[in-house]
Every structure is written in structure tokens, then in C-alpha cells.
């Protein structure tokens, strides 16, 4: 879906399995370390990954957001009005904590088309009954956002308030979800989703040098994080 146009440098893509492994490593590192050095090193390493794979724009965006978070925590909250600080300090804290996770998540979304990820999960023998719903879920999030924008626009035409407003959001959302489920499954069944035979794929996955380098780096971070805790 997002393959063309978005990524000019096709050759610099990681194997989806590497990307998923990195996601796992990052999660482990984030939740086992406490030291800011590991945090900064991890973010720097992820930024390298971003720049190597040509994601300059989002790399820069992440730098800006991270600097903003640090500024909030160390310079703005201590002097900000109390209510404001209370309101946002936990959100800021959590965002900073899971920042590497968000980065690698963005990286995967931007560089790995869904079908590569599905193929990776299949290679790892994830049960089909999990792979299908999971890929549908991940793809449906943007649709929810779109749907909500439409509903809000439609609501502006009338005066809807209070509990009626919740109802006015949830009912159309359910309707569109139900009809999407209907249409999507008609399409998927036509294309043989229920065929019990092992699935084949036009794409072939290969581990390359860069995959090994990334995995080794990731492992080093895990070891460092567990060792420094």
C-alpha cells in the first residue's frame, strides 16, 4: 500500500524479521534499564538506523520531540503553574520512557509494508488465527481515525449534546465496522484466505549483512541494559 513514492531507497530496507526482533530488543532494554546513558545511546542508535534507511524527516522530528520532552521535564515543569505541571508530567514521563519503542514502531510502519510483516510472522509459525486478525487490527486504526473525522463533520450540522453525542459517535462507528468486516471478508475469501494449503509468497526474505549488524547491536544493548540495571 505505502510502498511506492514513500520510499525511494528500496534497497535499504531491513528484513521484517530483523525489524520485529529489534522491536523486541528495544522493549526489553526500555523496561530493564534505569540509566539515562543507555536511554541516550539507544535513541542515538535508533536515529542512526533512521538516517541509514533514509528516514531523515521523521528522524529530525524525533530529535525535536525528544528535546522538547527533556526541556519540559527539566526546565518548564519546575517553573510552570502547578496544575499544568501535574496535568502533563506523567504523560511526559511515560512518553519519554517509551520513546524508543515509539521510534522503532514508527520505523517499522514506515519501512515495512504489511505483507512483509505478515510473511515474517508466518515464517516464525505464528498461528494463522492470530496473524489475520492482528494485521486487520493494525490496518484498521487509520480507518477509525478517518471515520471519526467524518462523524464529527456530520455532527456539526446538528446540535448533538451529552449522552446523545457518545451514541452518535459509537453507532455509526459500529455500522461502518460491521460493513467493513463484511466487505473485507468477502474480498479475502475470494482471494483464498480460507484455503488450508500452506501459503506461498512472491516475496522472499533474506537476512543480509545489515540485518546481522542490527541484530548484534540490539543484542549488545540488551546485554548492556541487563548488566547495568
Amino acid at each position: 500500500m505505502a510502498e511506492k513514492g514513500k520510499r525511494g531507497t528500496q534497497e535499504l530496507r531491513l528484513d521484517p524479521r530483523t525489524a520485529l526482533l529489534l522491536l523486541l530488543f528495544v522493549t526489553i532494554v526500555v523496561f530493564s534499564h534505569g540509566s539515562p546513558y543507555v536511554e541516550f545511546a539507544l535513541i542515538a542508535a535508533l536515529l542512526c538506523l533512521f538516517f541509514c534507511c533514509g528516514l531523515f524527516k521523521s528522524g529530525l522530528k524525533f530529535i525535536l520531540v525528544f528535546v522538547f520532552l527533556l526541556a519540559l521535564q527539566y526546565y518548564i515543569f519546575p517553573v510552570a503553574p502547578k496544575i499544568f505541571a501535574d496535568f502533563f508530567s506523567i504523560l511526559t514521563f511515560y512518553t519519554r520512557k517509551v520513546f524508543p519503542c515509539i521510534m522503532i514502531g514508527t520505523f517499522i510502519v514506515k519501512t515495512e509494508p504489511m505483507r512483509y510483516l505478515i510473511l515474517a510472522m508466518r515464517k516464525w509459525h505464528f498461528p494463522q488465527k492470530l496473524v489475520i486478525p492482528l494485521s486487520v487490527t493494525l490496518r484498521y486504526f487509520p480507518a477509525i481515525r478517518e471515520e471519526i473525522v467524518y462523524i464529527r463533520d456530520a455532527m456539526k450540522l446538528r446540535r448533538v449534546t451529552g449522552a446523545a453525542k457518545v451514541e452518535a459517535y459509537i453507532v455509526p462507528l459500529m455500522f461502518s465496522a460491521a460493513s467493513t468486516a463484511e466487505e473485507l471478508s468477502a474480498a479475502a475469501v475470494t482471494r483464498g484466505i480460507e484455503n488450508p494449503a500452506p501459503k506461498t509468497s512472491v516475496i522472499e526474505l533474506h537476512f543480509r549483512m545489515r540485518d546481522y549488524i542490527c541484530i548484534i547491536c540490539g543484542l549488545l544493548f540488551v546485554v548492556a541494559a541487563l548488566w547495568l540495571r
Binding site: I90, V136, A177, A178, I193
Partner: protein, 203 residues
């Protein structure tokens, strides 16, 4: 259309899997909103399981009535847990409560033969209780929990309010809220079913 299918086969087909995927997305989106709101005030965090139950009743009940087969709730829970795990919001405690709630909810659905409204309501109430694992460490390991989260940039005010809220009374409220509000959520779903969805043939 789906009734004849369910009689003949109890295994999840492509259509069921896609339906589960879509409603999991909606469930997760609502869940996530309240998860984020928990950061605003401690009381919102403690009431989070209840609030989630109130607002996710409709998608859960539609899913339960559209996919009357074993495994639907398990996959819903698994997807939620996987996404949360990746974004780092799931701790061991919530994984345990969430997993056991999913399994129990699935058992209730099976025992109620998937069709009954009461059965689905009970299973939804149980499923909702699974989210209590998020604030539960407050009571389980109170001292070490506060020692751990203080000094992590969380404001002293939030912590002191949290500390004063972590008493036995609140524990009962926290556990019962998802049950009560879950039943309310299911009843809301039923009203909406009658008002909108049944007419359109969705449920």
C-alpha cells in the same frame, strides 16, 4: 446467514477472524484513550477499568454476537495485550489478570452456549475486570511501588493523592467498578441493539 454457519462449524473462519480484527481495533482504541486519561488524575487511573467497561460494552457485545465461536475473546485479548506490550504499557501483574480474565470470559461464553445475552454480559463483566491489573500494584506492593515510581518525574501531588487513595475501600471500588459498569455497558449495548443494529441486521 451467520446462524446457519455457527450451527455447522465452531472453528473460526476467515470472516470471523477479520471481524475479530476490526472490533479489536475499536476495543483497543477506546481502551487506549482511557489508559492515557489515567495520567491526568489518580482517580481516573483507579477508575480506568470501570470506565473502559462502560464504553467498550457495545463493541464487545457486537463481537460476541457476530462471532459465536470459541476463541473470539481470547484473540481480542491477545491482540490488545500484544499491542500494549509493544508500547510498554503492560506489566506482569496486568498480563496475569488480563490473561486469566480472558480465559474465564471465554469459559463463560462456552458454558452459556455463546447466544444468551446474560452469558455474554457475565463474560464481558469478567473480561473487564482483567484491566484492574494496571492499578493493582498500588495495593499489592504498595511501598516498593511508590519507591519505584517516585523520582521518575511524576509530580509529588499525584503521588500523594495516589497514596491517600490506595486504601481498602478504594480497592473494593476499583474491583467492583468494572463489574457494575460492565453490566451497565452491556445493557447500553442491548438498548442500542434494539434501537439501531437489529433493524439494520448487524446483530
Amino acid at each position: 446467514m451467520s446462524t446457519t454457519e455457527t450451527v455447522t462449524s465452531r472453528t473460526l473462519k476467515g470472516k470471523d477472524l477479520i471481524t475479530i480484527g476490526i472490533f479489536s481495533a475499536i476495543y483497543f482504541a477506546i481502551n487506549f484513550i482511557f489508559m492515557l486519561m489515567g495520567g491526568i488524575h489518580p482517580i481516573l487511573w483507579i477508575m480506568m477499568p470501570g470506565l473502559i467497561a462502560l464504553f467498550t460494552g457495545v463493541p464487545y457485545m457486537i463481537l460476541a454476537s457476530k462471532v459465536q465461536k470459541p476463541g473470539a475473546v481470547l484473540i481480542l485479548g491477545l491482540i490488545t495485550a500484544l499491542i500494549y506490550y509493544v508500547t510498554g504499557m503492560f506489566t506482569v501483574v496486568i498480563l496475569i489478570t488480563f490473561a486469566s480474565a480472558c480465559v474465564l470470559a471465554e469459559v463463560v461464553r462456552w458454558a452459556a452456549k455463546y447466544k444468551s445475552f446474560t452469558g455474554n454480559t457475565i463474560s464481558f463483566a469478567i473480561f473487564s475486570v482483567g484491566m484492574i491489573g494496571s492499578p493493582l500494584p498500588l495495593w499489592l506492593f504498595k511501598d516498593s511501588f511508590f519507591a519505584q515510581i517516585s523520582g521518575q518525574g511524576i509530580s509529588a501531588d499525584y503521588l500523594s493523592v495516589l497514596n491517600s487513595l490506595a486504601n481498602d475501600g478504594m480497592l473494593v471500588v476499583m474491583v467492583l467498578a468494572p463489574v457494575v459498569l460492565g453490566i451497565v455497558g452491556a445493557l447500553i449495548a442491548k438498548t442500542l441493539f434494539r434501537k439501531h443494529f437489529a433493524k439494520a441486521g448487524i446483530v
